[in-house]
């Protein structure tokens, strides 16, 4: 296969993943509005290019750590829409037995170490995974997703400092979607996050988070450095949170012009435009099928019952 063909194939795959994430969330959002989601839902619609681009350079053995807004991260790293849908719909077949929901999805066998209800809570864990890879002399890396709001949690600086000192195979990926709950990032972020890397003697870059190829490129460089023992990199990807902080939040605190501009950065059309339309249509169809099947699987699955409450707290009882 020629390099061009490979590039085309890679781009199609990326588009397909982004589309899968988008349709997954649109579908689960509908389910939420129908009252079928027994938990909070933080949607990442509009941010798909960050997740898919960042995971593109990763191998199955690489790890990612996600956040409270992590459906797209999980899907980008290979989580199955059916078990994710089941989890969000509170079904016993979900990744966390239907008892965890959106903020507690983990698939360690795929290197997905977990979404997290604590903002910034995953940062030390990601650093730890990178530490583990280094001790084990594996050339795997850990990619840590976090929001611009999470950068205010002290563990951010703790992680940069030690990761840089130890040259850990860590990629710190700040997904800046302009909002932190109901307030603009300017309330939360002094200066620019990617510039904080320099103070810790590590490279920092800023990238257009709505261009999946640019994100993939930037992260690929960071991943290559990490695999080669060159240490961590801080990447800030600029994108926009289309919807409210959580499903149900009308986000009346934002003005329409800003929202319209934000949505204009939709990462899907740009990528789709670069594809053979027939292939793109085919991908869309596949995605529809996959999503329909996932929803079917979830709705067919039994709701998590009280029997799931006590299990899995200790090895003895696992």
């Amino acid at each position: 296969m020629s390099p061009d063909d490979q590039a085309a194939e890679a781009r199609l795959a990326r588009y397909r993943r982004m589309r899968l994430s988008r349709r997954f969330e649109e579908t689960v959002h509908e389910q939420f509005e129908q009252g079928n989601v027994p938990g909070p839902l933080h949607l990442s619609i509009g941010q798909e290019a960050v997740a898919v681009g960042a995971c593109a350079p990763l191998r199955r053995a690489d790890a990612i750590v996600s956040t409270h807004r992590g459906h797209h991260h999980c899907i980008a790293k290979g989580a199955h829409p059916d078990r994710m849908m089941a989890e969000l719909l509170g079904r016993a077949t979900g990744y966390s037995r239907g008892r965890g929901g959106s903020m507690h999805i983990a698939v360690p066998e795929l290197g997905i170490l977990g979404t997290n209800g604590i903002v910034g809570g995953g940062i030390p864990i990601a650093t730890g995974a990178a530490f583990g890879f280094q001790v084990e002399e594996r050339d795997d890396v850990c990619l840590c997703f976090f929001g611009e709001g999470a950068a205010a949690n002290g563990v951010f600086g703790e992680a940069l400092n030690t990761a840089s000192l130890w040259k850990l195979p860590l990629v710190m990926l700040c997904e800046n979607n302009v909002y932190v709950e109901m307030t603009h990032q300017s309330v939360h972020v002094a200066g620019e996050i990617w510039r904080r890397a320099e103070g810790y003697d590590m490279p920092g870059v800023s990238v257009d988070g709505n261009d999946v190829d640019l994100v993939a490129e930037a992260v690929a460089e960071a991943v290559a450095r990490a695999r080669a023992g060159g240490g961590p990199t801080l990447v800030e990807a600029r994108t926009y949170r289309w919807l409210g902080h959580f499903a149900g939040d009308k986000a009346a605190y934002r003005d329409e012009v800003e929202v319209a501009e934000g949505r204009a950065g939709d990462p899907l059309p740009v990528t789709r435009a670069k594809l053979d339309p027939a292939l793109a249509d085919g991908a869309d169809e596949e995605v529809e099928g996959e999503i329909a099947a996932a929803l079917e699987f979830a709705l067919q699955s039994p709701l998590a019952g009280e029997d799931v409450l006590a299990v899995g707290h200790y090895a003895e009882l696992a």
């Binding site: 027994p38 509170g90 205010a152 932190v180």
Partner: protein, 330 residues
């Protein structure tokens, strides 16, 4: 938006909101800081109207820096303010534990000066927020000299206790309960301060003393109604202040009823319920006709789906069964 009507039937959150309004009006040194407390009036709307009323210097949205938040309170209290710091969920207080316990709580001990800091937070599994947004760790802070720990169970006490906490010259931890936010109670007109360190007898009875806090108070009262028809007379006591704990009121009651049930939303080990059992049995075991019974959440994590979370939390029926077991009428 402005402050809700000053009296009548109020929701729990409105009691908190009114206390904040009244105390911020009363004393310019009072400030409120926290995540999303200003512009949007709090993720649950509890602090709505305060920014408009008191302006951006005294009411501030902060970054997500819980440890710093408490330090902002400690440092500003040390130089003359009377700060109120909101930690959105009690679970997040873990990120600030050093600043609360090693710093704020010990400030007077080290310096001999007052530290009029109020930390507000919200506990419990009343939402569908899962294992990291629903925990009850009040017991941790009851073990800390220098701190005062408050947990109101209704709108009137929420208002009156918070006002007392804000005026208090020691660091106070004011714990709101997620499951109570929208519950209504009558709130008397005019200024009413609920004293710190004083328990409330919610219902008088002869056969068994039920000590309940937060969300379990209402459930204990329901249970008391339920078993009344069965001829069991229940006394229900709400400590309201967990530290310093008004043990005497409880002990006097148990001396009369000779039976004790303690109901809390937390898990049992080393909980406030354990403390009540210990304090009471230490003082009047000989006068007790039955073992004390704790009604708590099982020792497992809090699931996200609300039905499961509610199934895990102790209910009125659990309290009722405990009462029956305690009086030997199962």
């Amino acid at each position: 938006m402005s402050a809700p009507a000053k009296s009548g039937s109020l929701k729990f959150w409105q009691g908190v909101n009114q206390a904040l309004f009244e105390e911020m009006e009363r004393d310019d040194a009072t400030v409120l800081i926290g995540e999303d407390v200003a512009r949007v009036g709090g993720p649950y709307g509890i602090t709505r109207g305060l920014l408009d009323a008191f302006g951006p210097s005294r009411v501030r949205d902060t970054p997500i820096s819980e440890a710093l938040l408490v330090g902002l309170g400690t440092g500003s209290a040390a130089v003359g303010l009377r700060p109120i710091v909101e930690l959105m969920f009690f679970d997040f207080a873990m990120l600030a534990a050093d600043q609360i316990v090693n710093q704020a709580a010990k400030y007077r001990y080290f310096t001999g000066h007052s530290l009029p800091l109020t930390i507000r937070t919200m506990c419990g599994a009343g939402g569908h927020n899962g294992a990291q947004h629903s925990q009850n760790i009040e017991a941790w802070f009851c073990a800390v000299p220098g701190l005062k720990v408050l947990m109101p169970s209704n709108a009137a006490d929420a208002k009156g206790l918070l006002k007392s906490a804000i005026r208090d010259d020691d660091p106070t931890l004011f714990i709101e309960t997620q499951g109570l936010l929208t519950k209504r109670t009558e709130v008397p007109d005019g200024e009413r301060l609920v004293p710190i360190g004083k328990a409330a007898v919610r219902r008088e009875g002869e056969d068994v003393t039920v000590v309940a806090i937060g969300r379990l108070v209402e459930r204990a009262l329901q249970a008391a109604e339920e078993v009344e028809d069965e001829g069991i007379s229940v006394e229900v006591i709400d400590p309201r202040t967990l530290s310093p704990f008004d043990a005497q009121t409880v002990i006097d009651s148990v001396r009369r009823t000779s039976r004790l049930v303690v109901a809390v939303e937390a898990t049992a080990p080393c909980s406030f319920a354990a403390e009540v059992c210990a304090r009471v049995t230490e003082s009047c075991l000989e006068e007790m006709d039955a073992p004390p019974i704790r009604v708590t959440s099982p020792f497992i994590n809090i699931p996200t789906p609300l039905p499961l979370a509610e199934a895990r939390a102790p209910g009125a029926d659990d309290v009722a069964s405990a009462i029956r077991a305690c009086v030997g009428k199962e």
